[in-house]
């Protein structure tokens, strides 16, 4: 049984471990080479070095101002989304009728392109935060409702029988059994939603804004400052990635039992 596997060389182990990073760095180097050797003009495809230079040419305080504007809208929309999605999911899980009434409405909202509705919302609510938050909320809440409802409905039936055999009140069945069982599903919904929240905030900034990373990218592009637009885009992606990761960290911190078991 105790068969010894051939020992991999240290190099092979490290290469395997850092494979994603090596791939990424390789890609950036390739990009740089194509741009410099191929003499690609900056307004077609700026080289990574040009993008980095553009990034540091913009003052730090300006970056922070744009970042805060985008992050504020994204997080407010995201939190509002959670506050709407959770009670809605509980309602849809508890009542068959409510599910039948609301589900088609949700599908309609989800299949309407938010980008197309955004200008109308701006007209309706003005050019301030409320309309931007609403746009973000519209784009984020569907995955949350679906994942939360699915999670609660997938509670093992025997667990529900245990609750029934105790004649416990229904709200405790929801609160002590169904919602905790839905935690893994809720968190996968949250991970999808947080990246959508950034998209929502950017879409809103494209329509009407005076600051924010989306606005910054649009404004840089319109002045043909393509390397600067790219630096904004990459900054935005990094923020999005960090938010995605922080949802995972929150799950690890608050609900370690809900993570898949490592063998």
């Amino acid at each position: 049984m105790n068969q010894t596997r051939p020992l991999k060389s240290w190099f092979a182990i490290q290469a395997n471990r850092f494979a994603p990073l090596i791939f990424f760095v390789g890609l950036v180097i390739l990009w740089e080479l194509i741009c410099t050797l191929g003499k690609v003009p900056n307004y077609v495809l700026p080289s990574p070095s040009a993008i980095i230079t553009a990034f540091f040419n913009v003052e730090f305080s300006r970056w922070m101002g744009h970042l805060w504007a985008t992050l504020r809208v994204a997080l407010m929309g995201f939190i509002l989304s959670i506050l709407i999605a959770l009670p809605l999911s509980i309602g849809m899980m508890r009542s068959e009728l409510m599910n039948r009434i609301l589900y088609p409405a949700l599908i309609v909202i989800q299949s309407t392109p938010v980008v197309a509705v955004a200008p109308l919302i701006i007209v309706l609510l003005g050019t301030d935060d409320p309309s931007r938050v609403l746009i973000t909320c519209l784009i984020t809440f569907f995955p949350l409702v679906v994942s939360t409802t699915t999670g609660m409905l997938e509670t093992p039936p025997e667990m529900i029988e245990l609750s029934q055999s105790l004649r416990a009140p229904r709200y405790r069945e929801t609160w002590q059994i169904r919602i905790p069982y839905a935690i893994p599903h809720i968190f996968s919904g949250l991970r999808v939603s947080i990246t959508l929240a950034i998209i929502g905030a950017v879409v809103a900034e494209f329509v009407a804004a005076e600051e924010g990373l989306g606005y910054f990218i649009q404004f840089s592009t319109s002045f043909f400052k393509i390397p600067q637009a790219f630096s904004g885009l990459i900054f935005l992606s990094i923020i999005s990635l960090l938010l995605f990761k922080s949802i995972q960290w929150i799950q690890m911190w608050l609900f370690p039992w809900s993570l898949p078991k490592k063998k």
């Binding site: 093992p156 029988e161 245990l162 029934q164 055999s165 416990a168 002590q176």
Partner: protein, 262 residues
């Protein structure tokens, strides 16, 4: 039935059920008559899908039979009762609670809280089941057999008179299964309960029970009600006795040749 006869704790009279209310829909269970006496251990064996679990759910009050009547202490069962505890097929523990909190969960769930006296009782029950050192562990740190012992302890928390067990050991491997059977007998001796035990293991039924109800294929009806006259306490020696082999053969005959007249 006279007044001074030993009171039947659980009584089923002509119990049957069909899930579909249409008149020509098939019956899941049919014509079950069974009286279970105080502190008696009765097993129900039968092929898969014969309605064993349906029967248990009707006694639990989770399902109201479409035919006949189940009564406990001469009261018809119309909803789940406080004096009935259930052990499920899987241990059914909540993965976010420690073992102790899982044991206390019925109180927390039913009343929203529990006191120090309840915690003391939980600790005593855990000690009886040899689980004291695991009380603060999470369920996934326990083996399958230990998890199911926690499931049994949880069912005992509210001190029920009747314990319903729905194939509780079917998810366990053969060795663990035999051991936990003896553990259950040990617990049952310390805390006598009226037990209805659903299983598809013939040897398990013979090893544990006072009487065995053998059910037919769907629709599940009574093929035989067998008195297990093996002496208690039972041990691994019981399995080697010739009477044990006779009884298992008798039941096996019913299961594999369902048309044998009773």
């Amino acid at each position: 039935m006279s007044q001074d006869s030993p009171m039947a704790f659980v009584s089923m009279k002509g119990v049957g059920h069909k899930y579909d209310p249409l008149p020509d829909a098939p019956m899941a269970v049919q014509d079950i008559d069974l009286d279970i006496k105080k502190h008696e251990f009765v097993s129900v064996v039968g092929p898969s899908g014969c309605g064993k679990s349906t029967l248990l759910r009707m006694v639990a009050g989770l399902l109201i039979p479409s035919h006949g009547e189940v009564s406990i202490f001469n009261h018809p069962v119309t909803e789940p009762r406080d004096d009935v505890g259930i052990v499920f097929q899987k241990a059914n523990l909540l993965p976010w609670l420690t073992v102790r909190k899982n044991v206390l969960f019925p109180l927390k769930h039913k009343y929203g809280r529990y006191g120090t006296a309840d915690e003391k009782r939980a600790n005593e029950l855990l000690e009886m089941a040899g689980l004291t050192q695991f009380a603060d562990k999470m369920p996934d740190e326990l083996s399958g057999g230990m998890q199911q012992r926690v499931g049994i302890v949880r069912a005992l928390l509210l001190n029920p008179d009747i314990l319903l067990m729905d194939e509780p050991f079917s998810a366990l491997d053969a060795l663990t299964r035999e051991q936990i059977g003896f553990d259950l007998l040990d617990i049952w001796k310390k805390q006598p309960k009226t037990v209805l035990f659903i299983t598809h293991s013939i040897t398990e039924a013979v090893l544990l029970s006072d009487r065995i109800l053998v059910m037919s294929k769907r629709p599940g009806t009574v093929l035989d009600l067998i008195e297990v006259d093996l002496p208690r306490p039972r041990s691994s020696n019981t399995i080697n006795s010739s009477r044990f082999a006779e009884l298992t053969d008798l039941i096996r005959g019913y299961i594999y040749e369902p048309n044998t007249p009773a």
